[in-house]
Assembly symmetry: C2
Homo-oligomer: 142 residues x 2
Amino acid sequence: MKTLKYSRQRESIKEFIAGRRDHPTADMVYTNIRRSYPNISLGTVYRNLSLLASLGEVQKISCGDGVERFDPNTESHYHFICRGCGCVQDIPMMPSGDLEAMATKVFEGSIESHTAMFYGLCRNCQGSGLVGNAGSDKKAET
Amino acid sequence: MKTLKYSRQRESIKEFIAGRRDHPTADMVYTNIRRSYPNISLGTVYRNLSLLASLGEVQKISCGDGVERFDPNTESHYHFICRGCGCVQDIPMMPSGDLEAMATKVFEGSIESHTAMFYGLCRNCQGSGLVGNAGSDKKAET
DNA sequence: GTGTTTGCAAACAATTTGCAGAATT
DNA sequence: AATTCTGCAAATTGTTTGCAAACAC
């Protein structure tokens, strides 16, 4: 049988994500957890992230930039991605049941859920003049 | 200066995508174009696909399965992805301006566009009993 | 003690890139 | 002739996996 055993690494990863609102990537989790567990390996981080995701303790989200991100909020909700700095933020609104109903009406199959991504400039990037550097924040995030 | 020169390979790739409604991946494009150009390389396919995408002749779409897909329809529209067979289909409805307006109202940044992904079972997978094999259709698509 | 988790390194998959030669203008 | 494009192979990036040792129960 598949029992679940405690692991301080996994606990620490879960805790780290829970304290974040910026939807960290596996790599961001790795470099940060390393402060408390210098020997943790990237493999362990990936293994635990997908385990936590399948347990429903975190949500894995794909933003189309080729990197998976992780969200402590496991309820279905919309996201925003900034074309300036590439940051990912939550959109504080309920997923639209109407939208899903409309889609169901025009689609010949069964629709069970949906997600939405909004694009534009975040508060910081608006009027900062610094636009077009999405992704230039590679590595080195706190 | 950056002039654009004709290439039969690029033309053939564009034409192939134009005739498809299934949002082919780079690899699907590659294996198909190979029938007409047996020596074409995957690199060339990727180069042309991103060129065509930046020219606005095709649309690149990410469905969260780690593979980019290409759509001849360059207008903004919603997509559906089947959890049974993994197929990707268009949702024949206009993107909701209301949804964008609502998001704009609750978000402290500027929203310029949005996309939505719907999940469920496609017509073929509904009632076929064959569920849970998404992705098992690796390679070998016509 | 039995079974799960870890660290490490090697393996993978999707995509990108450098370069010499072929094709287009 | 000047450039752009191609094929090939090697390089990158993000993620997964095999395995022996460490850890949890």
